[in-house]
């Protein structure tokens, strides 16, 4: 029982510190904390599909950007919606797109899905760059609202909700068991009566919708967006690295990876400015993690999780003869 209590106390302490943070630090550090919360939340959002369902999404920035653009367009001079009304609108639009992309491609091998999502994000960049109503490459501005505390608490609430939903759905419910079952062996899961296509689609929509919420807050926060800044591939790259670094399919791994990498990003930015070298570091980080730490940082803390995965894989491999595996 002891580790459980320790974990709960740690969680309460972290929430307490986060809630009091705006009173403890100046605006500069508060902005960095807001960014760290956003990335921790985005990493979790990517992990919902990538980690729990085992489908890699290389175009997650599409949903982040959709949330941002819907908010930016609705809050513009013509419509002037209030911010909180634009968030659900962005969620609905994102969910629709997720269904359109996911329904046909989630039935296939993960590779097709990865290509489709990647292509979708690139279509949106190109589309937003050539259309007039999105402001083209120049982008669009939003009515400025300069209250750092509001954005800090908005990101905090969004991130906390994302983690809470992920915990409740994927660690504590039948739905989570279904998702993990189809990830570990899709055929077996289907034989158990799980409607795998539907479950995958639901997971994908959830993952997309959470990303759109962060996009909406981000757009309002920075008050100016353009196609590269919200749809750009670098955003997806960063999410992928954060999750791989933290631990694919673990609840807290993405938070560790997200906050850790974001702080590294800010440090590099402070000392060297906006540099292409960071892209190389991201790439090297992905390669190194895949080669030497495939279960991420989180696996260092819980050996049980890392081991049980390997054992299960071996058992499954023996049962079905694993036609992909070949001789080792």
């Amino acid at each position: 029982m002891k580790p459980r209590w320790a974990g709960l106390l740690l969680l309460i302490a972290v929430i307490g510190v986060l809630a009091l943070l705006p009173m403890l630090v100046n605006n500069y550090w508060l902005r960095i904390a807001t960014g760290a919360l956003m990335w921790a939340g985005l990493a979790c959002s990517w992990n919902i599909l990538g980690g729990y369902a085992g489908y890699i999404n290389f175009g997650h920035s599409a949903f982040f950007g959709l949330g941002a653009y819907v908010t930016a367009l609705l809050m513009g001079d013509k419509l002037a919606w209030p911010f909180f009304a634009t968030v659900p609108a962005g969620m609905v639009v994102t969910a629709l797109f997720a269904i359109i992309i996911g329904a046909p491609t989630l039935r296939l091998r993960g590779a097709y899905f990865a290509i489709a999502t990647w292509a979708f994000a690139e279509v949106l960049i190109q589309f937003a760059s050539v259309m007039d109503f999105t402001g083209g490459i120049g982008g669009i501005g939003l009515p400025p609202f300069l209250d750092e505390r509001f954005f800090y608490f908005a990101m905090f609430a969004a991130a906390a909700l994302t983690y809470l939903i992920t915990w409740a759905l994927f660690e504590r419910s039948r739905f989570g068991l279904k998702v993990k079952a189809l990830r570990d062996h899709e055929l077996a899961a289907e034989a158990m009566g799980i409607n795998t296509s539907l479950v995958k689609l639901q997971t994908f929509v959830l993952s997309a919708v959470t990303a759109s919420v962060f996009g909406a807050i981000f757009a309002y926060w920075v008050t100016f967006i353009n196609p590269k800044s919200v749809f750009g591939g670098d955003i997806t790259d960063q999410m992928v690295v954060m999750v791989l670094l933290g631990g694919l399919g673990s609840l807290w791994g993405p938070a560790l990876g997200g906050v850790g990498l974001f702080v590294v990003n800010r440090l590099i930015w402070m000392y060297w400015g906006d540099t292409a070298f960071y892209i190389a570091i991201l790439g090297a980080a992905i390669v190194l993690v895949v080669l030497f730490m495939p279960n991420g940082i989180a696996s260092l803390f819980s050996r049980r999780a890392a081991k049980s995965g390997a054992v299960l894989d071996k058992a499954v491999g023996k049962l079905v003869g694993d036609d992909q595996g070949g001789p080792n």
């Binding site: 085992g54 890699i56 290389f58 359109i100 992309i101 046909p104 491609t105 039935r107 296939l108 091998r109 993960g110 590779a111 097709y112 990865a114 290509i115 489709a116 990647w118 292509a119 979708f120 690139e122 279509v123 190109q126 589309f127 760059s129 050539v130 570990d184 591939g233 790259d237 992928v240 791989l244 694919l248 399919g249 540099t275 292409a276 070298f277 960071y278 892209i279 190389a280 570091i281 991201l282 790439g283 090297a284 980080a285 992905i286 390669v287 993690v289 895949v290 080669l291 495939p294 279960n295 995965g309 390997a310 299960l312 894989d313 071996k314 036609d323 992909q324 070949g326 001789p327 080792n328």
Partner: protein
């Protein structure tokens, strides 16, 4: 009508060059079961090799082609076994890990090239640059003709190798069923390294040609990765014959959009087509996919 024919010809010539590296891409997928995001990175590296050989050593850009094959073939031969190990490891989800690895490799190459060589665009100078050939009402830049001839030679050589040699038979057998190929005595691990090396070498050669026809900068790698994916989706992943048809189609689509709609729309058109094909007929319109 002349414009139409001219566009068609341009598209087919470019499509021929695209075909060389997409055939290799399909082959690598068939044998390794890995989607290689890094394909665009190899194309760009080949282009830079051509540029630096021409600008630094003062030799003709086309001379870089065999060197690109040897150099990047060797690099690919070293990377192949790593990919094979990750793809066949006993960790959870090796397929995703291999995908993430090539994605990381691509990001590393792009970031490294941006850091080393900056955002500037270079063109690979050759003896034929600026010359053109008149065929009736049509004019064709000689570089494109030469590139298409090279491409046809490479693709033809590859097909002969695949369908007329014992080793080609082993490669095709492995792509069809690894387990059975292994039972017949094929060393899958070594074959994977060879195929990845062959593919990386061919892709870098195509990169020299692309650099001579268009130009090269670190960001265009994304475009070539997209081309490879487009062809893979249209032809069906792993289909080598379909790749040739799909690559020619891609070249023609791009040329027509660039001529009649505007070149800023060509990427949008390609993505949209790719996307529609995935939605309507996800296993490829040629239906040969794995």
């Amino acid at each position: 009508m002349d414009l139409f024919l001219q566009t068609l010809l341009n598209g087919l010539l470019i499509g021929g060059v695209i075909a060389t590296f997409t055939i290799g891409f399909q082959l690598a997928f068939g044998v390794l079961h890995v989607i290689d995001f890094a394909v665009g990175g190899w194309v760009v590296l080949g282009g830079y090799l051509g540029y630096y050989m021409a600008a630094g050593l003062g030799v003709d850009g086309f001379l870089a082609i065999p060197i690109a094959f040897v150099l990047f073939g060797a690099i690919g031969y070293l990377i192949g076994p790593i990919l094979y190990n990750v793809r066949n490891s006993r960790t959870a989800r090796p397929e995703l890990m291999a995908l993430a690895l090539t994605f990381g490799l691509f990001t590393l190459l792009r970031g490294g090239m941006l850091t080393a060589w900056g955002f500037n665009t270079h063109s690979v100078p050759t003896a034929l640059s600026g010359e053109s050939l008149a065929v009736g009402p049509l004019t064709v830049p000689l570089v494109r003709v030469a590139a298409a001839v090279f491409a046809v030679a490479i693709a033809g050589g590859l097909f002969v190798f695949l369908y007329r040699t014992r080793y080609g038979l082993a490669i095709r057998a492995t792509a069809e069923s690894r387990q059975n190929a292994a039972l017949m005595g094929v060393n899958i691990r070594r074959l994977s390294a060879n195929v990845y090396g062959l593919y990386a070498g061919i892709t870098a050669m195509a990169g020299v040609l692309m650099g001579a026809i268009f130009s090269v900068n670190p960001e265009v790698g994304l475009r070539y990765t997209l081309f490879a994916f487009f062809v893979a989706v249209l032809a069906g992943l792993g289909s080598v014959g379909g790749a040739l048809v799909a690559a020619l189609l891609l070249g023609v689509i791009e040329a027509f959009v660039a001529t009649y709609v505007g070149s800023s729309y060509s990427l949008l058109a390609i993505f949209a087509t790719l996307f529609l094909v995935l939605l309507v007929s996800p296993r490829g319109i040629l239906r040969h996919g794995l």
